[in-house]
């Protein structure tokens, strides 16, 4: 048996329909795509810029394209896949809003996950100790972090609202990667990782 997926990747996998076409942005070594291919007969493609991770994904026999997400997705046609996934990468791109809108153009649905800066531990570190937060999901010092666009769950909700993005589903995992009832009540305080399934609002739905 293969190793179980990381809890956040498992939620993403559960959201993806069997046999669908998926584009995984920043796919890393392809853990998610490998699972989706095996368990859900998904036709998946990854995008990865890093040489080492690309080689590892190719070693797994996954279709993966070497590309920098900061160059955008303009070569991909509208609705060319069912779902575009951006897992724990939104905070590391130069233009998160543009990339999010591009995702929802290329895919009919997008799945975005990100570390929540509203988590109580991050608030404690910044608010009480007066230091930039460093956590399991954000392990870097402020001066050498790839994570240049950090946000909270409430910030992301506002971004969706302002850009006609419909949130179809949301899950929040706490610092033990659990999805508890308390998380659902205070997601922005207890959630360390936020997971969103979203789509562009159809014109008639616009508020």
């Amino acid at each position: 048996m293969s190793q179980p997926l990381r809890p956040d990747l498992q939620i993403i996998a559960d959201w993806i329909r069997p046999g669908s076409r998926v584009l995984d942005l920043g796919c890393g070594e392809g853990e998610l795509l490998d699972y989706l291919r095996r368990e859900k007969q998904v036709q998946g493609y990854g995008i990865e810029v890093d040489d080492d991770r690309l080689a590892a994904a190719i070693r797994r026999g996954l279709p993966v394209l070497q590309q920098d997400l900061d160059q955008g997705l303009r070569q991909f046609a509208d609705n060319s896949v069912d779902t575009v996934v951006l897992s724990l990468t939104l905070q590391a791109v130069y233009y998160p809003r543009e990339l999010l809108l591009e995702m929802l153009r290329v895919g009919r649905e997008g799945i975005v996950t990100f570390p929540n800066m509203g988590h109580w531990r991050a608030r404690w570190q910044l608010g009480v100790t007066g230091r930039m937060p460093m956590t399991d999901v954000l392990p870097h010092s402020w001066y050498d972090t790839p994570n240049i666009h950090l946000c909270t769950i409430d910030d992301f909700d506002a971004l969706c609202h302002d850009n006609q993005i419909a949130v179809l589903e949301r899950r929040v995992l706490d610092d033990r990667r659990r999805n508890t009832a308390a998380n659902r009540v205070w997601p922005n305080l207890l959630g360390e990782v936020a997971l969103y399934r979203c789509a562009l609002r159809q014109p008639e739905e616009k508020k």
């Binding site: 070693r59 279709p63 590309q67």
Partner: protein, 383 residues
């Protein structure tokens, strides 16, 4: 002469000839009454015949991809750094075949061969051969070798174009397609360079309308010029700058004349002269034309994705950052069309400073990707 044949070399190899007696009707409408295909093989074909890899060579390449023909050889085959025991295309697992294409001067039938109708060399009467024709003759060779399906077909530059044509024309006969530093068709600039090369050859007084064999001459000057032009397009500005800069030959003062002043001039002349010793000018003409004519999407109204609609092979496409002959952008066109066609495709864009020639060099990331890919293929095939 090699001091000692390295342990990771396929060693001393020899070529084979496949003499085909059936006539071959070519894409241009003309036909060849029969033809010879020269090829080499490395490694062992397994009982299931599932470990065969076909290599497609580029403009000035040939069937001699790896190993040495004799202990006196100065250099091994053109892709020796890629093929051998323990190398990325590992001959302990794979049976590797490389065949010389028609129109060449390296052993397969070409313009320097004898036209049976006249008893004289074909010269410019040799029929125009295309990439699709080459692929059909390679399919004939596959039948002869008893290989119904190649585990992979691999090629760089013009070789990569043959791989694309294989995947389009014989979709069920290859499991994997590896297309390196190629393009889906030539640009106007590419064709322009080829035309200048051809004019250099054809305007040489020793060309004699391509009948220089009979005249006992060789358009050496024209062919050397063609090679010099070609060579510039294979290197990057950066690589030439690093290698030569404005160094003068032997560190001498400028001559204020038309002798060689700069190292780069000396290098290009040397490359040109060396090329003339082992390449036939007519072959250069025919092969550059095959390059110019390559455009598989033309039959589909220019829609490359529609051209790939029937492909079954899984693709690995690779390009090199400093290649301006077939720039990464051209490889991305292939990748996007394959993606739109729903084909499985991986793409590696390799940082390299050596321009188009990078595909022949042992660049670590390039070799790592190739190794990972062929390990995966071996695993899938249970090799």
């Amino acid at each position: 002469m090699v001091e000692k044949i390295p342990a990771d070399s396929v060693g001393i190899v020899s070529y084979h000839d496949l003499e085909v007696r059936e006539a071959l009707t070519l894409a241009c409408g003309q036909s060849l009454p029969g033809y010879n295909l020269r090829y080499e093989c490395y490694g062992e074909l397994n009982a299931a015949r599932s470990n065969a890899v076909l290599l497609c060579h580029a403009l000035s390449g040939d069937h001699h991809a790896a190993g040495y023909h004799s202990a006196e050889d100065r250099k091994p085959g053109w892709w020796d750094n890629m093929i051998g025991p323990g190398k990325p295309i590992d001959t302990r697992r794979f049976f590797v075949v490389c065949s010389n294409f028609l129109g060449s001067c390296k052993g397969s039938t070409g313009p320097a061969s004898i036209n049976p109708a006249t008893g004289e060399p074909w010269g410019l009467d040799f029929p125009m051969v295309t990439v699709a024709d080459w692929v059909r003759t390679q399919a004939v060779l596959s039948d002869h070798l008893g290989i119904a399906q190649w585990a992979a077909i691999v090629g760089g530059s013009l070789g990569g174009m043959q791989v694309l044509q294989w995947a389009i024309d014989f979709p069920e006969r290859l499991r994997h397609a590896v297309v390196i530093a190629a393009a889906p068709k030539l640009s106007a600039q590419n064709i322009g360079f080829n035309e200048v090369c051809r004019q250099a050859i054809m305007s040489d007084p020793d060309f004699h309308g391509g009948r220089y064999y009979q005249a006992g001459t060789k358009p050496k000057h024209g062919l050397a010029l063609a090679r010099m032009i070609g060579h510039i397009t294979y290197l990057s500005d950066d690589a030439m700058g690093k290698k030569f800069g404005r160094e003068t030959r032997g560190g001498k003062q400028l001559s204020y004349g038309f002798d060689i002043d700069f190292e780069v001039e000396s290098y290009l002349r040397y490359q040109g002269q060396r090329f003339v010793e082992h390449f036939d000018a007519n072959s250069y003409l025919f092969i550059t034309k095959a390059l110019d004519y390559f455009d598989p999407a033309a039959a589909h109204g220019g829609d490359l994705a529609a051209t790939f609609a029937q492909v079954q092979a899984r693709f690995l496409v690779a390009s090199f950052s400093s290649d301006w002959r077939f720039a990464p952008e051209r490889s991305r066109e292939i990748v996007q069309a394959l993606f739109r066609a729903g084909a499985a495709v991986s793409y590696a864009e390799i940082e390299a400073q050596h321009g188009h020639d990078s595909f022949l060099l042992p660049i670590p990331q390039y070799h790592r990707i190739m190794r990972a890919h062929f390990e995966r293929i071996a695993e899938e095939q249970g090799l």
